[in-house]
Amino acid sequence: MHLSELRGRLEPEDRARQLAARLVLSAAETSGATELVPIEMAHISACHYSGRASLDFAEFLLRNNARFAVPTHTNASLIACATPTLRPESTDPESVAGARRLMEIYEQLGATPMWTCAPYQQPDGRPGFGQHVAASESNAVSFFNSVLGARTNKYGDFLDVSAAIVGAVPFAGLHTDSGRLATHLFRLQLPDSASDAERGDAALAHLVGIIVGRLTGTRVPVIDGMGSLGEDQLKAVAAAAASSGSVAMFHVVGVTPEAATLEAATGGHTPARQTVIDTGMLADTRAALQTRSSGSLSAVCLGTPHFSTGEFGELLRLFDGRSTRVQMLVTTSRAVLAEIEALGWAQQLDDAGVGVICDTCTYYPPTPTGVSGLVMTNSAKWAYYAPGTLGVEVAFGSLRACVESAVCGEVVL
């Protein structure tokens, strides 16, 4: 669709659609795009409360009868609807009440109330290969592009919602074939002496993601030498690389769908930059991610991005009937919670002392109840943000290390 078609179709009295269209057109002009491309779904973050302006924008849409043109799914909220004690209203009345009202409004506007940063873990939140979509949450943007082969740029607050209302985005960046080609090659080189445990280290994907994010800038990276990776590990790469940097798409040779070969990922061009990731770099990155690597724990936080059903299965297997001595919080989506309830795992998790939290994440301020002092996580994204957002100390380890530490009450690496 040419830009002028959208301009021509605007009704002045339809203020919500008018504003949405102006934002999308402005985005097109800013990026130099001359065409718009229709999208098939949207995953929006503007439903996350970040001040009165978030609420005023949503109220404006509601007052002006805004409607979404495509299925529109919600990113995680500030609050957990089923667990109000996590962030009691008394700790920050404006934000907690604002977040609750914001959730109501986006539901009234017709958004699907998924409240998850990992919509790709449920069938209705998973775009197909080659589909154009509009996403906002940084790990979801990267997972959609990299792992599913769907096409989206990272759309900031308000523009994400505007794209969902208009049903189209500027045809630019990662929506185009050429915008998806890798220009920075990372080669993972572990010594031949590396043990299977080192190669299969569950923290490896997180650490590689942090390194790639830090060094890639806004380019598209391709990673070679990772071997086979499942979706949970690809989720970890996506989240970490979008935390330490702005990576909105990455390729893994032989794993991700547009990187059957290195040549496919680069379009046959020689990468402008090449970086070797070795064991020294991995060790330095691991050390830099934690502010402390020993001592008594106050809590363990898992599920950044939201835990999958498979990860809950692994967690239960690692507990093996034991229970945690410290508060353990695992964030996930309502859809995954329903699956683990159906499997009978929710009760087992409760017996192990594990708290399962929906709708939100534990690294957002205000600080969740009981998350203070030294906190352990298996998520590089959580470790990257929480010292700043919550003022806690962080220990980082694999899921196995997190469980062993939780059972002991102190960091066991």
């Binding site: 800013t30 302006a53 005023d56 924008f57 404006f60």
Partner: protein, 128 residues
Amino acid sequence: MIDGRSLHGGSASGEVAKLNDTISFWGGIDMSGTIIDHAHPQAGTAIAGKIVALAGSRGSSGTPAALCEMLRRGTGPAAILVTEPDINLVVGAMVAAELYEVDCPVVLIEPARFDDLVAGEIVQVGAQ
């Protein structure tokens, strides 16, 4: 007067706050308009009411809402001069104009013009 391409219209005049690195308006600047990103070369600088010159924003998709909230509170920039087309800043300024009738023009300027700017100098911005 500043020459450049208007990304979002309006007029303003004020003192230049020159940022030598990109910044996230969510988490990198607090709601009083002070730069709190410790790694930023201008950490501690107040941007409220200033003509903020920078390459662009970075990082979080929260920048538009954070800029809009600062403009609502009256702690945002008077105008923004960027050397890279930056949609997140444009969107924040556009929504603030619609919701709060606050003017915060955003203008794309040449890198050479950015280099010539001096922190503290008074400039006028008039963008269509």
